[in-house]
């Protein structure tokens, strides 16, 4: 019997190790990002004090005549309201479109809408921001007679359009997975197609639809470039028709000119850390919630 040569054994082990290393790099990335975000974000929080940071309502990091203040509550609230607004409008429209695609669409029309959704998903965020800046902002200014149309409302509209494709795709998959037997049973009892879709198919797909909502929330709260051009970039407490700043746009707009190593720059990293934790919390919470319902 011919035995494997030492050389053969070594090469095989080596190749195995190389590929395993590639896999571990992915884990490494996550670890590095988390660790370094924490390291970069903690100093400012410690210097400013966690309560003052999270709940302070004034953000003036470069104030010279008074003490600079680093309260990020306006950003946190704006991100929450903006995301909530986008989800409240986007989920119904997205779900309805998904029902259309999964159940009611004539085949040619379905293909058309599918292509539309895919293309919408592929448009870069800055392009959304540009169109929003040129059309939405002046539009809102005229409609509500404001000094500037760059408002939370404009941002919510942009965010809604941006999260539509995610919601539509995941909901559609969930709806298509509903067993045909449920729908046949419903129709055999004398229900119409619409009644079947809304009263049987949608409830049967609810965990998939919940996943779609989670996806939408994640995308909305993390968006920066699409809304930086339409939201006004002022650190106000959020109001629908006020210029606002999100956690994301705060980082994007000030990082460029914050002095390296300054408390301002460190505070921006802290905002990043808060955002990161927010998103992790949302994912964990909603995943437990969704998975919990599935096993119930």
């Amino acid at each position: 019997m011919k035995n494997k040569t030492k050389w053969q054994e070594l090469t095989e082990k080596g190749i195995n190790a190389v590929f395993m290393l590639c896999g571990i790099v992915a884990v490494g990335f996550v670890l590095c990002i988390t660790v370094h975000l924490v390291i970069a974000g903690l100093p400012a929080i410690m210097k400013i004090g966690l309560p003052t940071f999270l709940f302070g309502t004034t953000w003036q990091p470069t104030a010279t005549t008074t003490e600079p203040s680093f309260g990020i509550l306006p950003f946190i609230l704006t991100s929450i309201y903006g995301t909530a607004g986008a989800v409240l409008i986007g989920v119904p429209i997205g779900l309805l479109t998904a029902i259309f695609l999964a159940k009611a669409a004539p085949p040619k029309f379905a293909k058309l809408i599918h292509t539309a959704v895919e293309l919408l998903a592929g448009i870069p965020s800055v392009v959304y921001g540009l169109v929003g800046m040129i059309i939405l902002v002046p539009g809102i200014q005229r409609a509500f007679d404001l000094p500037s149309g760059a408002t939370l409302l404009a941002a919510i509209i942009v965010l809604t359009i941006m999260i539509l494709p995610s919601i539509i795709n995941v909901s559609e998959t969930a709806l298509r997975a509903v067993p045909r037997e449920y729908e046949e049973a419903s129709m055999a009892l004398g229900a119409t197609e619409m009644e079947t879709f809304f009263r049987v198919s949608v409830p049967a797909a609810k965990s998939g639809i919940a996943a779609a909502v989670v996806l939408g929330v994640g995308r909305a709260i993390g968006e920066a470039m699409a809304i930086i051009m339409v939201s006004g970039n002022v650190a106000n407490l959020p109001g629908l028709l006020t210029s606002v700043r999100f956690m994301t746009t705060a980082i994007a707009s000030e990082m460029a000119y914050a002095a390296a190593g300054s408390l301002q720059q460190q505070a921006l990293f802290s905002i990043g850390l808060v955002l990161f934790l927010f998103i992790m919390m949302i994912n964990v919470f909603l995943n437990v919630f969704v998975k919990g319902r599935r096993t119930a």
Partner: protein, 251 residues
């Protein structure tokens, strides 16, 4: 015997495939009519023409008349949702909704406009009793229907169909996915049900047809070969093909 449905010159095509040829039969009221025949002979297809479930299939073409309640059910102005309320169906594989037992039964009545909780409670209780399953589930009406055994689920589906107060119950091989004990229970149930309802059932199982049906319709390759009282068909079949099938020469 009173007739509840008259089928006249019924033909059905799936695309180019001529699946049912010139079917003529009168379905007797308050009797169990069994549709028998080898696989692919058209009996399930025929069953589905009776409540227009074939409408859901693409490329289906149907000619002929089916008279029920003095009207052709294929007339354009017929409200199909009303028709399916009067003619209920139980499928081969039990298919309760992923909802509570109560909501499964209440689904039909709610769809047709009944919202009062009192009325729904009564309908749920009555339907579950008619389906001989009330005692087993009365204490867990709010638990998921998917937690029941196959036999129980099928009786639930029967109860669900009964909840909308049909005249006719169509059963499409409803016991073929069940164990012998559950099958027996459902056969007993069918015999009870015919006092109030008319039952038309497709079955693969000739012994089942002999056991519980009053009339039999033998289908072969899309033709209705013979229709007669069960006793007559199995003791003195009129057609040579019927005799060959029931004596097991093919099928």
């Amino acid at each position: 015997m009173d007739t509840i449905m008259e089928v006249k010159d019924l033909n059905l095509w799936y695309g180019d495939h001529h699946a049912l040829h010139d079917i003529n039969v009168d379905i007797p009221k308050n009797q169990i009519t069994a549709l028998i025949g080898p696989s692919g002979c058209g009996k399930s297809t025929f069953l589905k023409t009776l409540n227009r479930m074939n409408d859901l299939v693409e490329n289906v073409k149907i000619t002929g008349n089916i008279i029920y309640n003095n009207e052709n059910i294929y007339a354009p102005k017929v409200d199909v949702t009303w028709l399916r309320k009067r003619i209920g169906m139980v499928f081969q594989k039990p298919n309760p909704f992923p909802m509570s037992i109560y909501d499964n039964i209440a689904y039909g009545p709610r769809t047709h406009g009944i919202t009062s909780k009192v009325k729904l409670d009564n309908i749920v209780e009555k339907s579950l009793k008619d389906a001989a399953i009330w005692d087993e589930v009365k204490d867990r009406l709010n638990t998921s229907a998917l937690g029941m055994s196959g036999g129980q689920q099928q009786r639930l589906c029967i109860a669900r169909a009964l909840a909308v107060e049909p005249d006719i119950l169509l059963m499409d091989e409803s016991t073929s996915a069940l164990d012998p004990i559950s099958t027996g229970k459902i056969e007993e149930l069918a015999v009870e049900l015919k006092k109030k309802y008319t039952v038309v059932m497709v079955t693969h199982n000739m012994q089942q047809a002999v056991r519980i049906s009053d009339y039999c319709a033998f289908f072969l390759l899309g033709d209705l070969v013979e229709f007669s009282k069960t006793e007559e068909m199995f003791s003195m079949p009129k057609d040579r093909r019927t005799e060959d099938y029931i004596t097991g020469r093919f099928g």
